[in-house]
């Protein structure tokens, strides 16, 4: 088993999930609460990675962060090295790629919070920000956990985007899925099988968490 690839993958997935919690919550809040007529335009953009082939997304990200684009140039000027084929570049791509997996569960759980509760909080003099932390977030924990876990799991398994944006650099951008592909190409089926099993196990556990959390009836422990 390639522990270096596993390390890179876990680091990437954890960072992606944490960053998506931070930037996904405000986006989801806006999606859920905005009454703007053209909101669906933004919603569609957020959902785009769900339907786009990872190679297409990866291609555009590669162009966008490449040395010839303003964004890539800005980054190169600030940090001193270009973004493509680095861990940071891969992280950027992962965040975009997993955005809907965080934003959609967040927004769905915000949608389900009774607006009357929120209004009651406002009339009690509590600001919108504090209302979020004191009322909306506690009522949306299942959705928040689901979004974080799904974006973590989705990042674990990404392949196309990694290949396009990250390349295949040992210890930097070679993730588990790339490693499995390499092993198979090298006809090392035993090595591939071990890593694949590892990925399968993690993914299954993660989905167990999601489905268990979203169960209406909790049969293992009675609801408190």
């Amino acid at each position: 088993m390639n522990w270096i690839a596993i390390g890179v993958t876990l680091k990437l997935a954890i960072l992606t999930a944490v960053i998506l919690l931070v930037i996904g919550v405000p986006i989801a809040y806006w999606v859920s609460f905005s009454r703007w007529r053209w909101k669906f335009l933004i919603e569609s953009v957020v959902a785009l990675p769900l339907v786009l082939p990872p190679t297409v997304l990866g291609f555009y990200i590669l162009v966008a962060i490449g040395p010839h684009s303003p964004l890539g140039q800005l980054y190169a000027d600030l940090v001193g090295s270009p973004l493509p084929f680095t861990f940071q570049g891969l992280l950027f791509a992962s965040i975009l790629y997993s955005l809907p997996f965080a934003v959609q569960p967040f927004a769905t759980s915000f949608d389900q919070v009774d607006r009357k509760l929120i209004e009651a909080s406002w009339t009690l003099g509590v600001s919108k920000l504090k209302t979020f932390f004191r009322l909306i977030a506690p009522l949306s924990t299942a959705g928040l956990v689901t979004g974080v876990v799904l974006s973590f799991a989705h990042t674990l398994g990404e392949f196309g985007v990694v290949l396009m944006v990250g390349g295949n650099i040992e210890g930097e951008t070679r993730t588990v899925s790339i490693d499995i592909y390499d092993e198979v190409q090298a006809l090392n089926y035993a090595g591939a099988a071990k890593t694949a099993l590892f990925l399968l196990a993690i993914s299954y556990v993660v989905l167990l968490v999601v489905y268990a959390l979203n169960r209406k009836v909790w049969s293992i422990w009675p609801p408190k």
Binding site: T123, L124, V126
Partner: protein, 362 residues
């Protein structure tokens, strides 16, 4: 602290007639202003606009010396800054918070010592002792209502807004809490605006009643005046109770109360204690007119009086009778002719005890 509320707003919801209401009302320290009308008349929209939860597309809302809304000058004060206590129809208690947590929710500006003290005061005032740690789902309807009221009152708002405060309760609890709510509002000495579609509730709680219909404020005045002297046919139809007079209970036996109104005695259903003041409410269609000298009927009340006015409304006629107090009866044109009634004719107005509604009024 005298205060004035001045509202003049227009709000349109898609697919519905616009709500266009103007209302100016002086409210003293403990005045309860009741917005009364059928469902869909726009009263909740008015209340929500005053709370800052609904944004009308035109108009102004002023409370005391402050402007809360002036669309023309782009003034929009947020609900957080209005210092109001708002209780929605289904209470909207926070399910994740305990009773004490709900009551203390709006007290974030206080130190934790002051907050605990204030919550404690509220728990006593609203008789919630022993329930501080309970979650809203564990409470009865009446308890939930008290928690919601305590939560709204705790931050010392300058105006209390209650949307159908009793409608979520079952009928017996509602009857019991009607009187209690009025007492509580007086005790709090807070100006309040209360939305209701129940005329008995409006009469019990209101110091001033604003009758609403079709998105407009039709008449504003003291309860008795609004009910007994509706400005026009629309108001009369909405209030639906033509006779409202003040009286007091003089005898009480097994839920049958005898009431004196200006010396005239009436029997009505009600278990109010002897001596308690009540509004005696009688619908015109419940009054039966008899010629003087006719026989016994099952009706408990036979009031002797004189016809003072006859007002035709198409096939039906409103007959006003002076029988110690002004009473309105509704009869058909044919019945009027058969009884050969005219202004000044002596007449007997009969009504069952069940048609004499007694609304407690302290």
């Amino acid at each position: 602290m005298a205060a004035e509320v001045a509202i003049d707003i227009t709000k349109t919801f898609p697919g519905r007639a616009p709500i266009s209401a103007a209302l100016t009302c002086r409210i003293e320290q403990a005045t309860s202003l009741v917005l009364f009308g059928p469902s869909g008349s726009g009263k909740t929209t008015i209340l929500r606009s005053i709370a800052g939860l609904e944004w009308p597309e035109r108009g102004t809302i002023r409370f005391m010396s402050r402007t809360w809304l002036d669309i023309g000058s782009r003034i929009r004060v947020s609900p957080q800054q209005r210092r109001i206590g708002y209780m929605p129809q289904d209470y909207a208690l926070f399910p994740t918070h305990s009773v004490a947590g709900n009551i203390g929710y709006g007290l974030g500006d206080l130190s934790s010592v002051d907050r605990t003290k204030r919550v404690d005061e509220m728990v006593d005032l609203f008789q919630l002792r022993g329930l501080e740690a309970a979650k809203p789902a564990e409470l009865s309807g009446g308890q939930q209502q008290r928690v919601a009221l305590a939560r709204a009152v705790a931050p010392r708002p300058q105006l209390l807004l209650l949307d159908e405060p009793l409608s979520a309760l079952d009928a017996p609890t509602r009857l019991q809490l009607r009187g209690e709510l009025r007492g509580l509002l007086k005790q709090l000495a807070l100006p309040s605006m209360i939305v209701t579609h129940d005329w008995a509730e409006a009469l019990t709680i209101g110091d001033v009643i604003a009758v609403m219909g079709d998105g407009r404020v039709l008449q504003v005045g003291p309860p008795q005046e609004v009910f007994s002297r509706p400005k026009n046919a629309d108001v009369a139809q909405i209030v639906g109770v033509e006779t409202v007079v003040q009286g007091h209970v003089i005898a009480q036996a097994d839920g049958l109360a005898t009431v004196s109104v200006n010396g005239t005695t009436l029997k009505g259903l009600g278990s109010d204690a002897i001596g308690s003041p009540v509004f005696v409410c009688i619908r015109a269609e419940d009054v039966v007119l008899e010629q003087t000298g006719s026989g016994m009927t099952s009706a408990r009340n036979h009031l002797v009086g004189k016809v003072s006015e006859i007002v035709p409304h198409g096939v039906i006629v409103h007959v006003k009778i002076e029988c110690g107090f002004p009473l309105v009866a509704m009869v058909t044109r044919g019945a009027l002719e058969d009884l050969s009634l005219d202004v000044g004719s002596p007449v007997i107005a009969a009504m069952k005890a069940g048609a004499v509604h007694l609304v407690p009024r302290s």
